[in-house]
Symmetry: C2
Subunit: 133 residues, 2 copies
């Protein structure tokens, strides 16, 4: 499976998770990696909250994110009053959601290891229940 297809499948997994709840809707953003305007991979919302989500799955032990990606996520979130989140899935684990401030900064990138994600990331249920606040 190529990178793009893999990314699309990862995004679809999260879309399904939101639609399986009773009150959330979610959709994938078209061409989020290619168009010239900042945009997240996924937008999710219910009657009260709006989430802008960048989404990564990896077989590696760490996940890098370009600062440009994160800045665009932030710009979109600030303009639309959405909460910016990073969704990361390491193999043989569930999706976890982490805030930008909790990623590790390394020069040109932000990154997360399995350990960091376990420690500072939250589950899908916690994301919906806002138990991170």
């Amino acid at each position: 499976m190529n990178q793009k297809k893999k990314g699309t499948n990862a995004e679809r997994e999260i879309i399904h998770m939101f639609w399986q709840t009773s009150d959330w809707a979610a959709c994938r953003v078209a061409g989020s990696g290619s168009i010239k305007y900042p945009s997240p991979d996924i937008i999710a919302a219910n009657l009260k909250r709006k989430l802008a989500i960048e989404c990564k799955s990896t077989k590696s032990e760490y996940q890098y994110l370009e600062k440009r990606e994160i800045n665009e996520l932030l710009e979109y979130a600030q303009k639309t009053n959405a909460e910016p989140w990073i969704a990361i899935k390491f193999s043989r684990t569930n999706w976890r959601f982490i805030q930008i401030k909790n990623l590790k900064e390394t020069g040109k990138h932000y990154m997360a290891t399995r350990g960091l994600l376990k420690d500072k990331g939250i589950s899908f249920t916690s994301l919906l229940n806002k138990t991170f606040i």
Copy 2:
């Protein structure tokens, strides 16, 4: 140009219009015609408002919309607290935005003629300024 490409270009025109304002962000929804969850063609938002937009351009004198499309737009909008809008562009005119209640109902479809859109539709500027209320 095939139908899909034509639709994508029409959606991009509207995306550009939103990004040319100072305070709105907008994005196209991936696979809005094919995935199994209800979704609009475009989502646009600023700090205060959220719009879910179904988008059509035509060389014909009337534009039909399937009731299924409209119902899905409504479902998405209701779940996410967004305003549902239909964007329609007839050739040699500008985009106009119309509410579902102002479309004509014809059995399996909703539809708009040039005359109806001129009469009941509003300009992009009016949409942003909420002069329709």
